[in-house]
């Protein structure tokens, strides 16, 4: 089994730069022909009910076509010109299958942001528009005509890069939008031709498996979730007496406790994943990330000295809620509805579970083996101390927004996770053999002693 852990990154890294790079990579290998005057980016999130669109329109170009002096105070364009902008956009965005029966265009939100064009110097303001294209009854969202000429009706050299960010029915659910084309003035005729969106036929099954893969991917890349659960499970096979971790509690005891903790964590994150995916609660990402790092620290301390022995399931459940909220961030921009959403949450959660079980299966047996030796206490404390250092590093990184030596080193180290697990396996077997031998030697010595006396 191969585990490739990457650095933890659940934030939406996707930026304006990306489609341009993709575009360049796709069309002109090795070179990037970005334009001095910035282009519009159009990102599509396609599901069975509608097409959600995000537009990123550079203000210097919009100023030329909107014909109002919006460059003066760009930060307040939406407040000042909101309604006029909506009318303007609606006049230049049309979607249809049958031209006589166009789709509804519903503008959800508009806000101002700073964009940067690749290689073109300082940042400029851009208008970000979220809108929904709502098809008529029984019309397909996968193949339709987009008659779009925002900015371009006036600015002859302006271009719009069209990318699909999410295509649920094809299992395309990524932060890396796929460029599908460019809307621009045709140089031969000097007209802007309606653009045909024609996505590959998909299915609910593809959507489901796509979400399953995403769930697995998510755990693979989210090292901090794994570190939390592994650290929480680390001392689970031990008994406690006198408020100290003592000896191995036996196979039945161990397995029962491991299952209890894993189940509680699963229930916890499943609940909040669903709540989060429905968009019922919105908690700042940074806050969630910090709490997750704290949860790792808490379970590391618990591994050194029992803080909440016997109550692990509540801790696992509680922090499960938090981890679930982090998972749900990924689902929120899919704009899913009804059946798609239910399938998505199920697929995503099963993917998370599958990956989690795989990692636990790859690590926990070695803990069980080691916990039967007397060296385990040292191993456990060293491991937990290292994890607590990593957790503190992450907390600082997430509070300050800047990486530090510890968090950077941790992220680098975790790239070698498969080897770390192999090392863990060999190490535990060595310890086990060593312990067996010492035990035998002690027993033999005792026998000799008894015989002599």
């Amino acid at each position: 089994m191969i585990l490739l852990f990457k650095t933890s990154s659940r934030q939406n890294k996707w930026r304006l730069l990306f489609p341009i790079l993709l575009y360049c990579a796709a069309l002109t290998p090795g070179i990037c022909l970005a334009h001095q005057s910035p282009n519009t980016n159009m990102l599509l999130d396609v599901n069975t009910k509608m097409v959600a669109v995000e537009l990123q329109i550079p203000i210097p170009e919009l100023a030329l076509s909107f014909k109002r002096n919006i460059s003066e105070s760009p930060a307040t364009i939406v407040e000042q010109y909101g309604d006029q902008l909506k009318d303007y956009l609606k006049a230049h965005i049309h979607a249809y299958i049958n031209k006589d029966n166009p789709w509804d265009v519903e503008i959800v939100s508009m806000n101002m942001d700073k964009g940067t064009q690749v290689l073109s110097g300082p940042p400029f303001w851009e208008l970000r528009v979220h809108l929904n294209l709502l098809p008529n009854k029984n019309e397909d969202t996968r193949k339709f005509i987009l008659d779009y000429d925002v900015v371009m009706h006036e600015v002859i050299n302006h271009t719009t890069l069209v990318s699909v960010r999410n295509d649920w029915e094809n299992g395309v659910i990524t932060d890396n939008p796929v460029e599908v084309g460019v809307i621009s003035r045709d140089m031969q005729t000097m007209t802007i031709k309606p653009f045909e969106i024609n996505l590959k036929k998909g299915s609910s099954w593809k959507g489901f498996t796509g979400m399953f893969r995403l769930g697995m991917e998510h755990i693979k890349n989210g090292t901090d979730h794994l570190l939390f659960i592994i650290t929480l499970l680390l001392p689970a096979c031990l008994l406690v007496s006198n408020k100290k971790w003592t000896v191995y509690g036996g196979m039945k005891y161990s397995i029962f406790r491991l299952l209890k903790i894993i189940t509680a964590f699963t229930i916890g994150h499943s609940i909040t994943l669903l709540i989060g995916a429905l968009g019922l609660v919105k908690i700042p990402v940074q806050f969630i990330e910090i709490i997750i790092a704290v949860s790792i620290l808490v379970s590391a301390i618990h591994a050194i000295t029992p803080l909440f022995y016997g109550k692990e399931i509540f801790i696992a459940l509680g922090f499960g809620f938090i981890h679930g909220l982090a998972f749900s961030q990924t689902l929120q921009n899919l704009h899913l509805v009804s059946m798609d959403l239910a399938l998505s949450v199920l697929g995503f959660n099963l993917g998370i579970e599958a990956m989690q079980v795989a990692v636990i299966a790859a690590t926990i047996p070695w803990f069980i083996i080691m916990s039967q030796t007397r060296y385990f206490r040292i191993v456990k404390n060293v491991f937990a101390s290292l994890v607590s250092m990593a957790a503190i590093g992450w907390i600082l990184q997430r509070v300050t927004g800047n990486g530090n030596l510890v968090s950077d080193a941790t992220d680098k180290l975790l790239l070698f996770s498969p080897w770390l697990i192999l090392g863990l396996c060999l190490f535990s077997l060595t310890l086990f053999a060593l312990a067996k031998r010492t035990k035998k030697a002690v027993e033999a010595e005792n026998t000799v002693f008894l015989q002599n006396s």
Binding site: Q36, L119, N157, S385
Partner: protein, 463 residues
């Protein structure tokens, strides 16, 4: 026991804190540098030297078994065999394996091989620099033969690695690698000026000078001024601006019999000249831009190499009657030239728009030619004359169009090209010139210029 645990956790926290706090000063050791092997036989010399010509270059000497300590610059080691050169170790830090850098300077007093005996970190060896007999003399050649002679002279100053980077295959993909952007070698091929030694850069510029006009603010002088203006942007904005990011590249091997292309440029400049069988067959695509559009250098000289282009275009439009100006005006706005790389499909519009030159007064027609000449005459005078003949013969079926120029009025040249998006285009059977005012990128309160000069049938000729 409880105390132990508390101690353990506290120490973990303290250790973390110390790690984070100490991340900067981790190397304050005083161990001396040692290596287990120096390989002079694998030395890389940046350039060959020439007898009696001042030389600057570097030698990279690979080592293995370094002990990770920093070492300071060495003292000058004189060459033996061919004398007159010195090699000086540059300061650095050893890794387990890597290269030492020696800076080599001086003027070789004879031709042959200059040897340098070096000792470092307990190892010694000797490396050599080849000194050529004489620099190639191209002063007796003229025209394309001179360009080829200078191109070969430039190649002779380069190391084999550099030669491999500067002479590339002549194909469409490579020919299309030109840009208006400050993207250095990431959007261009060839060698960056910043990677060349003084002697190499002088030789590179001599090639460009031979292929272009010698008139002030045209050709080579214009190229140098645009190149220089990038240092103004670097001072103001840093980043990828600066004369060192400009490049030179040959597509195909320079010769007076075969076909090859000279590419040179950087931010706001693209020169693409194609030679075939000893004559210039294409002088496009060409791009010139300028920001700031005028500035004064340290000597008090005003640098404004595109001012005459702007004036020529403004004079042309001002010589149109009000009616002609109206027919020449096209709807819509331009925020940049159409035919700049990366712009939409980058194919010429099939229909010419604006006003046909044959319908203009003879004065205005002459002004159209004068405007064209501002771009065509950037080339060496022989080629420029040949191309001007082609474009003049096609003048009557050439069109002029302009956009915005809302303050522009007939008879007043200064009323044109005053604000962002003021635009003009000359579109003939062959010639295509666009000139536009854009809001400044580094100086947003000023406008700056962009222009392209293309040829419907001669861009990327034969590719």
């Amino acid at each position: 026991m409880k105390r132990k645990i508390v101690l353990c956790i506290t120490s973990a926290v303290v250790m973390t804190a110390i790690f984070i706090a100490c991340k900067k000063d981790s190397s304050s050791s005083t161990t001396s540098a040692t290596v287990t092997a120096l390989t002079c036989s694998s030395a890389t010399i940046s350039a060959t030297a020439t007898l009696n010509v001042a030389y600057t270059g570097t030698a990279s000497i690979p080592y293995t078994g370094g002990n990770s300590v920093a070492y300071s610059a060495g003292s000058a080691i004189s060459s033996t065999g061919v004398t007159g050169l010195t090699a000086t170790l540059a300061a650095g830090t050893l890794s387990s394996s890597g290269s030492l850098t020696y800076n080599i300077t001086g003027t070789p007093t004879s031709s042959g091989t200059a040897s340098f005996a070096i000792t470092f970190g307990g190892q010694s060896c000797s490396f050599t620099v080849t000194v050529n007999a004489t620099a190639t003399d191209c002063s007796s050649s003229t025209g394309v033969a001179k360009v080829v002679c200078l191109a070969n002279a430039f190649l002779a100053t380069l190391s084999t690695t550099q030669q491999a980077s500067v002479v590339l295959t002549l194909n469409l993909a490579n020919a299309k690698l030109w840009s208006n952007l400050p993207c250095g070698l990431s959007c261009r091929d060839g060698l960056a000026f910043s990677s060349l030694t003084t002697a190499q850069l002088t030789a590179a510029k001599a090639v460009i000078a031979a292929a272009t006009s010698t008139t002030t603010d045209q050709g080579y002088d214009e190229f140098l001024k645009i190149n220089n203006t990038d240092s103004v942007l670097y001072a103001a904005a840093g980043g990828g601006y600066g004369p060192g990011y400009y490049v030179i590249c040959f597509l195909g091997t320079p010769s007076t019999t075969g076909k090859w292309m000279l590419q040179f440029g950087g931010h706001h400049y693209a020169g693409n000249i194609t030679f075939d069988a000893g004559s210039v067959v294409s002088i496009t695509p060409s791009h010139q831009g300028l920001e700031p559009k005028t500035w004064t250098n340290a000597n008090g000289t005003v640098i404004a190499p595109l001012a005459d282009e702007e004036t020529a275009m403004a004079n042309m439009l001002a010589s149109f009657s009000s009616t002609e100006l109206t027919s020449a005006k096209i709807s819509g706005s331009y925020s940049d030239c159409l035919m700049i790389p990366g712009s939409t499909t980058n194919t010429f519009p099939s229909t010419k728009v604006g006003i046909q030159v044959s319908s203009l007064s003879s004065t205005a027609q002459a002004n159209v030619l004068l405007a064209m000449a501002r771009w065509v005459n950037d080339l060496d005078s022989t080629s420029a004359a040949a191309f001007m003949t082609i474009y003049t013969n096609e003048l009557s079926s050439t069109y002029v169009s302009h956009a915005r120029n809302s303050s522009g009025i007939s008879g007043s040249a200064s009323s044109f090209f005053t604000t962002n998006t003021d635009y003009v285009r000359i579109d003939g059977p062959s010639i295509w010139i666009e000139f536009i005012c854009q809001t400044g990128v580094v100086y947003p309160s000023q406008i700056h210029y962009h222009s392209v000069f293309r040829d419907h049938s001669r861009d990327y000729i034969g590719l």
